[in-house]
């Protein structure tokens, strides 16, 4: 009897559960969990004289992280990510507000116009900025054509250009959650607030902003974290003058060929990510609103 029951239980629950969840479980374990654990292991491995990874325990990779040159880049990365996030909020919020509050049919078109640029490969678009800002680029041609300047101005390879590229690449991750949050906003609350005598500014700070803060939080998380890793933006627009942690990691896995050190640097990024996600959850952020 019990055997029959367990057989039934197997067919009704265990088998379909295994068939549906099995593949995703396998992939998540083999291609997410195991590789990340392996990175953690590699971060305490040493290199032999031929630059091969050997499983000899060492903490030297972590002590090397405290190198002054590296610390400078950590600070630089955080500054770049922070400025990028703030700029994305300052530009993205009013912009998302205006398009989300548009009443006409144009709203859908306005929304699509935000997404369309992102179907062109991000590298090419970043390169487009280089063609725009470079010494033989558009801005310089215009400035010289109008005789405002005689010598081309070098606008590239500065921290500011890297930030411009980061804002450019990441701003949709701010605009889209803000748009969703603002669209959900109940207009009658705004009317109530102004009927009760609130000035527009206090309606904004006491009603609109708190109700849409979820969009700001998830947007900030999705902008700040990638910024630390987007090495190609600082490569193309920063020209080595505004590296982020991603550049340090990339170098260890390519030209530097020091995988354990690169692994230790990656562990820092993982820890930073975990801390920020924890803060996000403490602020009441919903993890499910990050992926859509």
């Amino acid at each position: 009897m019990s055997r029959k029951k367990s057989k039934h239980e197997f067919r009704a629950n265990t088998l379909p559960a295994m068939l549906t969840v099995g593949p995703v479980t396998l992939i998540m374990i083999l291609l997410i969990a195991v590789p990340l654990l392996y990175v953690a292991v590699m971060s305490v491995c040493s290199l032999d004289e031929y630059y091969n990874v050997t499983f000899k325990f060492t903490l030297s990779n972590y002590t090397r992280l405290l190198n002054a040159d590296y610390i400078k880049i950590y600070i630089q990365s955080i500054v770049i990510a922070l400025v990028t996030t703030v700029l994305c909020i300052l530009i993205g919020y009013p912009f998302a507000y205006f398009i989300a509050r548009t009443k006409s049919k144009k709203k859908k078109i306005l929304y699509m116009l935000v997404i369309i640029p992102f179907w062109t490969n991000s590298l090419i678009r970043i390169y487009g900025w280089r063609s725009f800002l470079g010494t033989s680029g558009w801005i310089n041609s215009i400035l010289q054509g109008l005789h405002i300047v005689n010598e081309p101005v070098d606008l590239l390879y500065k921290q500011g250009t890297t930030i411009l590229g980061m804002v450019y690449c990441l701003i949709p991750f701010m605009i889209l959650p803000l748009y969703t949050a603002i669209e959900k906003l109940d207009t009658s609350l705004l009317e109530a607030s102004s009927d009760l005598g609130a000035r527009p500014s206090s309606t904004f700070f006491e009603v609109i902003l708190p109700l849409t803060s979820s969009g700001i939080f998830s947007g900030s998380l999705m902008v700040f974290i990638p910024c630390l890793g987007y090495f190609f933006v600082s490569d193309i627009l920063g020209g080595g003058n505004s590296d982020v942690i991603g550049n340090l990691i990339e170098r260890q896995f390519q030209s530097g060929n020091n995988w354990p050190l690169g692994a230790a640097l990656s562990i820092i990024l993982i820890i930073v990510t975990l801390i920020l996600v924890k803060i996000y959850q403490k602020l009441g952020g919903d993890m499910d609103s990050l992926g859509v």
């Binding site: 068939l19 912009f95 090419i124 890793g229 992926g291």
Partner: protein, 267 residues
């Protein structure tokens, strides 16, 4: 009267502001499109030397670029199909059944969404090197499937949250077996979520630079091809290809959007 002019000024400001942001968003695209008609032949192909269609012709001779674009499409299509099937099944299973370790899988799913892509890239690189899987098409597809699955699952899950399971029971009570119920009832209801997830997966796959950069081996994708030429100057035939892709996607969107609205009207 004063109030009206203030509203007008406000409206003017918001239109102006939005126009500025759109200019910002489309500026590099404009540069790409214009440069695809640039007659210049000297690196870094930036200064304007007159109008030409040459690059669109030369594009067909650039087999390595077209090959890279082909790789991108093959990888995107295969990874999208795999990620959509695995993700949809996973989302349904996680919604319907209770099992041990569900929370762990749930937590793992968030990792590709929040972690910097470079970390996932090097993690996959180290594990592929460890188990001796040669880098190439297979590793690229494995990597793309991995980072696409969570986005499919979240999209399908959003659809499942409003899903009424009793229609499945009704179907089974009326004599349909589990498979028939799945294909005739469950899938059609979830279709918008599945489609949204698949579209997102496809977009993420064709645009991916960072993760592919670490696992490509000899199989170059279109973004990686661009990456390679960035240092010396991206030649205008790349711009020509980008322009053609852009036109293609815009046409695709216009067609699907029109279809969608006419169907809605019919309802």
């Amino acid at each position: 009267m004063k109030r009206q002019s203030r509203i007008k000024a406000k409206k003017g400001f918001s239109i102006g502001f939005c126009a500025l942001v759109y200019t910002f968003l489309f500026m590099p695209i404009l540069v790409i499109v214009v440069n695809s008609f640039n007659a210049t032949t000297t690196k870094p192909y930036m200064s304007w030397k007159g109008f030409t269609f040459d690059w669109y012709q030369k594009l067909w001779e650039n087999t390595s670029l077209l090959g890279a674009f082909g790789n991108t499409m093959i990888i995107a299509i295969i990874s999208t199909i795999l990620a959509t099937i695995i993700g949809t099944l996973g989302a349904i299973g996680m919604y319907k059944y209770k099992f041990k370790g569900k929370k762990v899988i749930d937590a793992l799913l968030y990792i590709p969404v929040v972690i910097p892509e470079i970390v996932l890239g090097i993690a996959l690189l180290t594990i592929f090197a460890k188990v001796n899987i040669p880098r190439g098409m297979i590793t690229l597809i494995l990597a793309h499937v991995t980072f696409c699955i969570p986005f499919v699952i979240f999209n399908v899950r959003a659809r499942l949250s409003g899903y009424d399971g009793s229609i499945e029971e009704a179907s089974m009570d009326l004599g349909a077996n589990r498979l028939v119920t799945f294909f005739e009832i469950t899938l059609p209801v979830l279709a918008p979520g599945i489609l949204g997830g698949a579209l997102l997966a496809f977009t993420l796959s064709i645009d991916d630079v960072i993760i592919s950069y670490f696992v490509y081996g000899q199989t170059k994708t279109y973004p990686l091809k661009v990456m390679e030429s960035v240092k010396s100057g991206v030649s205008p035939d790349v711009n020509a290809l980008s322009t053609l892709i852009l036109i293609g996607t815009i046409i695709f969107v216009v067609i699907t959007q029109c279809d969608w609205s006419s169907k809605k009207k019919a309802k």
